[in-house]
Symmetry: C2
Subunit: 192 residues, 2 copies
């Protein structure tokens, strides 16, 4: 099998493994086993566990960023921004639902290379969210930067929660999730 193809195959398995179990609990041998290959191949292709994890992060980060940017640019006016972004995320993550948690993995060793890479990509994603939260607060006369930052965290926490819930309901499609989120967001808006 040609190298580039094999690399993509490995990355797919690695994203699933890192996302499902977290960095520390993910095992190189297990990733190799899932691909049907032996460990040294992973090391000749990606150098180290850190290298493979960083490659995963560098693959997922831009995917998500582009999905969100595209969705925000072509936002249908009848739908709210949060729902638009969620729909785009569900579409981008269908087939690799664990990928989100590779980026938002609290167990990455602080200071390590994958940690820095993940933080970098998260910041890019979060920047888009930050614009939304700051605008929402500003419209209500609140210009506290920390409030906007905390609200941004609530948003990403909500996304994480929804993706976690989606993972535990494998039979639901991205469209199902999108429709459900439309209801839930409306409910929050109307009655929190």
């Amino acid at each position: 099998m040609p190298r580039v193809h094999r690399e993509q195959q490995i990355l797919g398995a690695a994203v699933e493994e890192f996302g499902r179990h977290g960095y520390a609990a993910a095992s190189m041998a297990e990733i190799a086993r899932r691909v049907g290959v032996t460990k040294p191949l992973l090391y000749t292709y990606f150098g180290s566990k850190d290298g493979l994890c960083t490659a995963c992060v560098d693959r997922i980060g831009p995917q998500l960023l582009e999905a969100i940017e595209r969705a925000m640019a072509s936002k249908p006016p009848e739908s709210g921004l949060p729902h638009t972004v969620l729909t785009a995320l569900f579409q981008a993550l269908e087939g690799q639902r664990h990928a989100w948690f590779v980026l938002y993995d609290r167990t990455l060793p602080p200071g390590s290379e994958p940690w820095r890479a993940a933080r970098r990509h998260r910041e890019a994603v979060d920047e888009l969210a930050a614009a939304g939260t700051a605008a929402l607060l500003h419209a209500q006369g609140n210009d506290d930067a920390r409030d906007a930052d905390a609200l941004k965290h609530i948003w990403t926490g909500t996304v994480s929660a929804l993706l976690g819930w989606w993972i535990s309901h494998p039979e639901l499609s991205a469209q199902d999730m999108s429709a459900r989120c439309a209801r839930l967001l409306a409910a929050i808006r109307n009655g929190a």
Copy 2:
């Protein structure tokens, strides 16, 4: 030092370690080092890593449950239920902000004893949240059980996000957080 006292000391360090790094990345030797004690003592007192982690979970679970129950029972009418619960959580977790993530640790080995214990306590906590989400949806004519379940996840995700944000702002007190959340919840209510 008497055993019961030492056990509490160990539990405190272990909660911090497990909560901060997750089960897999947490190290028994490191926990021992932080307490200023050697590894075998941990094993004579708690049997195994699983045993220690389960003890942590069994300590935190009831603490949180009681804090939430007490808050819900004595809810001041002028404040919303979410804010009441958040305030109680901040108070209960001041001084052990990582504890929440011991209970909500996605890296616990599925099927293991700490995993089962954490799930049990989470269910007890979530049951209280479920009542709230189901009521909110029911008031709007939505009786979909899955919607209520997903909304419950959004709620716990929001709590996780706020605690994560609090951890990255160590200088803020529980009261600071409570006040901030009052603003944020109002902002969400008014303008999502």
